[in-house]
Symmetry: C2
Subunit: 196 residues, 2 copies
């Protein structure tokens, strides 16, 4: 039963991604998600409270896999500066994977502004990433591979840069090869804080 | 007559800013803007095609004053690296000035996605700033105050960083002193590309 329930949840999420990306978050209803995933409304509401909950789960699953990927990349590196540079290299493929789904984020955020609880969960990843990078930078200063920069400020710069690239990719997808921009600009910032 | 017409236009824009910021872009109608500005609908449509046109004008006026400010700052500096650092200093006050109006940008963009013409004009500033910074960086490499970095990539990093900070300030205004984050992260990036 456990396995079947998990399979249902996964099927709902997978169909929802397709519908959100294809026709927009706004235009997609719970009934349509149920139909595409071949589940009853009862089964849907057993797993998710609402359409927003589906979206939050998609976002959180994606962010979990991104931070697991980044942490594994760091652990394989000989030191923090090399680790950060490898993470910038990974950013490119992570970014390409997410490409089709980025445009939904803007629509979701515009909606989330009206719901304080969803809003709180939507901004939580920013905090998590700032803290994660802040402690990585602290480690890099300790081991001597980074200059004695301010960890919180560097973390803020890395997160802001990523958010800025993602936003431009959403607004203006054809203006650049955004995965390359992500990798190149991250590398530029990271090299700037390394010991020369 | 010229002066009076200009005064009417300014009054419409000023009242529209207040309404957009106070109750949101979506919730504000042309009739309400006319009432607040004490102008007839005829006078309104003499100056602006639509509510979106009012918003585009506000955005364009603001961006014009920002780039004029940045260019003047650069011209007063002895070289490009000092100029970029002074620009980062200015970014802070520019950012504080705009603070109350930032939240409208998200709402506007979410709407603009459905109108190709508005969309085209909404992404135009990104291109303009990328080109402006690309040529500034080129100048800095030429004079020797910057390392031989790739101008387009540095421009992309500067614009992405600014967009990322602005977006986080919109999403999560209380999480940081965003004007200080803008100045500090810009400084970090710029110092990284200077000759050491």
């Amino acid at each position: 039963m456990q396995a079947r329930s998990e399979e249902t949840r996964t099927r709902i999420l997978r169909q929802a991604v397709g519908l959100f990306a294809g026709q927009g978050y706004d235009a997609t209803g719970v009934a349509q998600i149920c139909q595409a995933a071949r589940v009853s409304k009862g089964a849907f509401y057993h797993h998710f409270e609402s359409k927003q909950a589906v979206f939050m789960n998609l976002l959180e699953d994606w962010l979990k896999s991104v931070s697991a990927d980044l942490k594994a990349t760091l652990q394989e590196a000989p030191n923090v500066i090399e680790g950060l540079l490898s993470m910038a290299g990974r950013a490119r493929s992570i970014f390409s994977d997410a490409d089709g789904q980025l445009s939904i984020v803007l629509e979701f955020w515009a909606q989330a502004r009206r719901d304080p609880e969803i809003w709180r969960r939507a901004i939580e990843p920013f905090h998590m990433y700032r803290e994660m990078f802040s402690s990585i930078v602290q480690q890099g200063i300790g081991e001597g591979s980074l200059r004695p920069v301010e960890p919180a400020l560097v973390a803020q710069a890395l997160v802001s840069l990523a958010v800025g690239v993602i936003m431009q990719a959403v607004f203006d997808p054809k203006a650049a090869e955004w995965d390359q921009v992500m990798q190149g600009t991250m590398k530029l910032l990271i090299e700037g804080i390394g010991r020369h």
